[in-house]
Symmetry: C2
């Protein structure tokens, strides 16, 4: 071949926009499961989602150009679900169940588009808010985070020459592969990709997912990214998130309703889903109080996803809860998903192997680990702890306490009110890296 494909070169060099979000399926599966429930039960609730950069030393507005950010957000708003995507959502089996999405919901979804955004620069940070109906704003969480993270890595890589870029990815690939080789040694481990929101880029996430598929085979159980699940015939995985108890708690009219809200969520969920989707996320207002006040039917659910306690302590506490309710943990499932990397996966695996079924949702350290890959240190390539959280529901402040005070979000006065009500037992500060 001639060394330069002229048409491709001109196309590459004149395009207007390299979209980060090219499909509304490029999101986490649990957003779609939650969306169906929100659409069905809370269609008139308003919820504001707010970008929170926990890493105050990273000045996003200095790293990322506002015009580029607006272009990407605008492009995401122009996307609809394609015909092929709708057919796949309707026809695919999720968690062993056909037609998990109701036809009426899919009819509504066919016309879905992301609602407006509100972007302001505030010193070195961006204020990014999404106001409107919960069933619309909720869908911004993943694309907003993926867009900002990828714009950040693109900006950081502008400083690199062609060979430096080639070496950067070569090292990153070698790094992922070493992790794969370590994981291969853990018999029957179950790992899935949960790395959409904080990925280095879409193409890199795809590379990681395909590498895991080839590298650990059946131990790789799927991906939370719906688009990648469709395109690579993998299982789409994920259940539910903190926004559900956070909104229901914010809507509570009194302390009694507030106290009941974490369980009300489970009942709502159960009216839509069953089986392996019955996974409790216990830490929105502290796992200790959640377990203490839990009705006994909570122990009938398939499993728990401890998301902010240290894996071993958190897992042991939940196994104790099961035993108290006469359940054998070996019939139950623990899903670990908080800031995992191979070390923590290995130690949790070794600790719990044979005692409880377990699965690992591997996120940022899978899809955005470029440490020591660039020829010199580039801060913009380090993953940061950034979330997009519900901050208000029907105008009332929304709060998350978490088992780790560093992960708490919401108005400080409101946090105090929640702490008083739920208690602060067993909360433990740990640095939040990603």
């Amino acid at each position: 071949m001639p060394k330069t494909d002229i048409a491709r070169r001109v196309y590459n060099h004149t395009w207007k926009l390299d979209p980060i979000c090219r499909s509304l399926l490029d999101t986490d599966f649990y957003k779609l499961l939650m969306l169906q429930m929100i659409w069905g039960l809370y269609p008139h609730v308003d919820a504001t989602f707010t970008l929170i950069n926990r890493n105050k030393k990273v000045f996003l507005a200095d790293e990322i150009d506002e015009g580029e950010l607006r272009e990407q957000l605008d492009h995401a708003r122009a996307i609809r679900f394609s015909k092929k995507e709708m057919i796949w959502l309707a026809g695919n089996t999720f968690y062993g169940r056909k037609q998990i999405f109701q036809p009426e919901f899919l009819n509504w979804l066919a016309d879905f588009r992301l609602p407006e955004y509100e972007l302001k620069r505030d010193g070195g940070q961006y204020e990014l808010n999404f106001h409107g109906r919960w069933m619309e704003t909720t869908m911004w969480e993943i694309p907003a985070l993926a867009i900002i993270n990828e714009l950040r890595s693109r900006a950081a890589m502008r400083a690199l020459g062609p060979f430096a870029l080639d070496v950067l990815y070569a090292r990153a690939k070698a790094k992922v592969w070493s992790k794969v080789e370590r994981l291969k040694k853990l018999p029957d481990i179950k790992i899935s990709d949960f790395g959409t929101r904080r990925r280095h880029s879409f193409l890199w996430q795809r590379w990681c997912v395909e590498a895991l598929k080839e590298g650990i085979g059946d131990s790789f159980t799927g991906t939370s990214n719906v688009l990648l699940a469709m395109d690579t015939d993998l299982e789409a995985l994920g259940t539910n998130a903190h926004e559900l108890p956070m909104v229901l708690a914010a809507l509570a009219k009194n302390d009694e309703e507030l106290r009941a809200s974490p369980y009300k969520v489970l009942q709502d969920w159960q009216s839509y889903y069953g089986g392996n989707l019955l996974i409790v996320l216990p830490d929105a207002f502290g796992t200790e109080s959640f377990l203490r006040d839990a009705p006994s039917w909570v122990a009938d659910w398939t499993g728990f996803r401890p998301d902010s306690a240290p894996p071993i302590e958190g897992g042991e506490r939940i196994m104790e809860f099961w035993r108290q309710h006469g359940k054998d943990p070996r019939d139950k499932l623990l899903i670990f998903s908080d800031g995992l990397d191979v070390d923590t996966i290995e130690s949790a695996y070794r600790h719990f192997n044979g005692k409880v079924r377990m699965a690992f949702g591997w996120g940022t350290n899978l899809t955005n680990d470029f440490e020591d890959c660039a020829p010199r240190e580039i801060n913009g390539l380090k993953a940061i702890s950034m979330v997009c959280k519900v901050s208000k529901a029907n105008g009332r402040p929304a709060v998350k306490l978490s088992d780790n005070p560093e992960k708490a979000t919401g108005d400080p006065k409101e946090i105090q009110r929640y702490l008083k009500l739920f208690g602060a037992q067993n909360r433990m500060s740990r640095a939040v890296l990603v």
Copy 2:
């Protein structure tokens, strides 16, 4: 970037096989429609399909290596429908109809694989036969033709250096685009791609389909290639083929049944499909006799596909048939699909515009026109007239008369018997180029 992506280069230079057929959906849509009917009504009928190279001066066995041919045929036999493909077949709307394929049929299809083949070299030609159940052998037609045609163009291109190859495709693209520009001038024309079986290659067909999509927009109504329809969100198009009347005629126990067979086919078809799928293919045993003996309900069908008579004469004869039965041709549809190129499309369009609805199924001259594109004449890049026809049904010889004696297939004695029964009125020899 470094000039050479080493991993890609090694991958490219060490692969074992570049498969021509990578999906069972890489076939014509009408095969699937016919298959469902064959599966439903004729599951126990055996049918042999036979490769027929009408161009005796092209020695396929000299151009194509037998080992490569076997590798490609074996690879095609290893393919199954993927999960995503099955979901799409079940969920997509075809011809405005949901669930055109019955669940029981799709269950059967999920395990489908191409049956065995019988390949022998006979001098400069290959004898290629597919024996077995009709509902299995029928699926070989398109992949067998596509494989042989692509192996032929690959072999021809081995003689070309890198720049010659670049120029070859540049000229071919320019050629397709000039055709697109001519077609653009015909208001509201309806054109679709029917070029799977005799394409230069899969990637080239995809290029042509995407070029038409960008170039003539809504005038491009879709493609007969199911895989390309799925991947590019186009309509999958096609209705039925000569194999249906050929098999039913071969199964006829006496002259009366033989005479009735072309209409029996339509009744079978109508028990499965309706609307725009009610397209009569009248020329299997001669259009003249077909129209002469046709029951009046045949005029109720949506349209005709004259496939071997010259377009204008053939179309006029059918319009006369409609008028004789009190139908206004402007409510009816003619689909032209025989050896079309821009000249014939333009003249047919100009002749029939306003008199009848029409559509053009553009095949070989769309997806395999490399005339004058190579730096010197290369015979192997010229499309040839090759078909894969049913030759026997339950052991009895199958025959096609066609309106063009050059397109007749079958045992000469049996052809004489059919000619005596159906008559030879209005048959007209025309050179068969593709």
